[in-house]
């Protein structure tokens, strides 16, 4: 299973959600499907995408917030699972694409390579009730349907191949993305 296929599978569902992605391949693959105003791409500050997601989810309980994370990033902020468990935002879906590789920064093995470290296990042991593990697209799709429907928080760990896009680039400046994302969230609140 490739991350690109997973993102394609949920892309339509993301239209109504608030989406935060990590840097590099994950951001690019979402962007290449078509940018939307409700997408924020965190192109640096590895580890903090899930923290941004928690921050939005706790303050905007009416929105469903989706974080697209990766093994390398989440390993930099494992405390995020404990914070998520403690404050338990019911509207948060945290997807961790585990490719066992620091793909966007040179392809070195991450600590999850060869299944040594189990991110889903860490999430469960942190106290998150709804944690799913997906090795194929069907299981991933089912886990996402459940995660979108239930009162969360939900963590979905998707084991994917260590492959990414051929080309990188976005016609979107980083502050521009932040300004438009904040504006969009503000407009959504006024339109409700």
């Amino acid at each position: 299973m490739e991350r690109r296929q997973c993102i394609e599978l949920i892309y339509d569902e993301l239209e109504e959600k608030v989406v935060v992605t990590i840097m590099g391949a994950c951001a690019q693959e979402l962007y290449d499907l078509g940018h939307r105003e409700n997408f924020f791409y965190l192109q640096h500050a590895m580890g903090l995408a899930s923290s941004i997601g928690i921050g939005i989810a706790l303050h905007r309980p009416e929105e469903k917030v989706v974080v697209l994370d990766g093994d390398g990033s989440v390993l930099m902020n494992l405390g995020t699972f404990a914070t998520m468990a403690r404050y338990a935002p019911t509207n948060l879906v945290h997807v961790v694409f585990d490719n066992g590789s620091l793909l966007s920064t040179g392809g070195f093995d991450s600590h999850t390579t060869s299944g040594i470290t189990d991110l889903a296990g860490i999430a469960r042991a942190s106290g998150i009730e709804h944690v799913a593990d997906a090795d194929d697209l069907m299981t991933f799709g089912e886990a996402m349907v459940e995660a979108f429907e239930r009162e969360g928080p939900s963590v979905v760990v998707a084991r994917v191949k260590a492959v990414g896009p051929d080309n990188y680039g976005m016609d979107l400046h980083l502050p521009e993305n932040a300004f438009r994302f904040a504006r969009h969230l503000s407009d959504r609140r006024s339109n409700r």
Partner: protein, 171 residues
């Protein structure tokens, strides 16, 4: 020496008066009484983090969500949060309003705080973060309000350093 009950209350009231309804924090001694007040206030949201860099993400999320937010930390936590401050807040122009307990400075009896205390001001300068020292309980509410205002207008971090003069008292 004990943490000042009265001044912790004044700082709390300053935070409320600035219109701030959400706080992220990593507890530390000088912030203890203040955090108790925040936690027991039904109109405030408090998110405790496991490490201060996490709070930069929480603060960015609160900002995107439209919630007036403030970060509370010790200066060593500020040092631990630097990559998030630089590569999220400054890179994307996301405002942060930080209240930082300035340990390890004038009058510090504990050796383990001193290195961090001595470098804090220079690190703030190196990062172009505007800061002030809060020493006088009569002024601290205004300083909080103005630090928050500047962070929002400049879309940049600001820091108010909570000093020993303000946070400790001799019974």
């Amino acid at each position: 020496m004990t943490v000042s009950y009265e001044n912790s209350k004044i700082v709390f009231e300053g935070i409320r008066a600035a219109g701030i309804s959400s706080v992220s924090a990593l507890p530390e001694t000088w912030l203890g009484l203040l955090l108790q007040r925040i936690e027991s206030d039904p109109d405030m949201t408090l998110v405790q983090v496991t490490k201060e860099e996490e709070a930069v993400g929480i603060a960015a999320g609160a900002y995107f969500a439209g919630e007036p937010h403030l970060m509370l930390m010790q200066n060593h936590g500020f040092l631990a949060a630097i990559n998030g401050i630089v590569s999220l807040a400054q890179l994307y122009h996301v405002p942060l309003c930080m209240l930082i307990a300035l340990r390890g400075h004038w009058g510090e009896p504990y050796p383990w705080h001193t290195r961090g205390g001595i470098v804090t001001e220079d690190v703030l300068r190196a990062l172009d973060i505007p800061f002030e020292y809060a020493r006088d309980p009569a002024r601290v509410a205004q300083q909080i309000r103005e630090g928050y205002t500047l962070s929002r207008s400049s879309l940049w971090p600001t820091a108010l350093l909570l000093t020993r003069d303000l946070m400790e008292e001799y019974p």
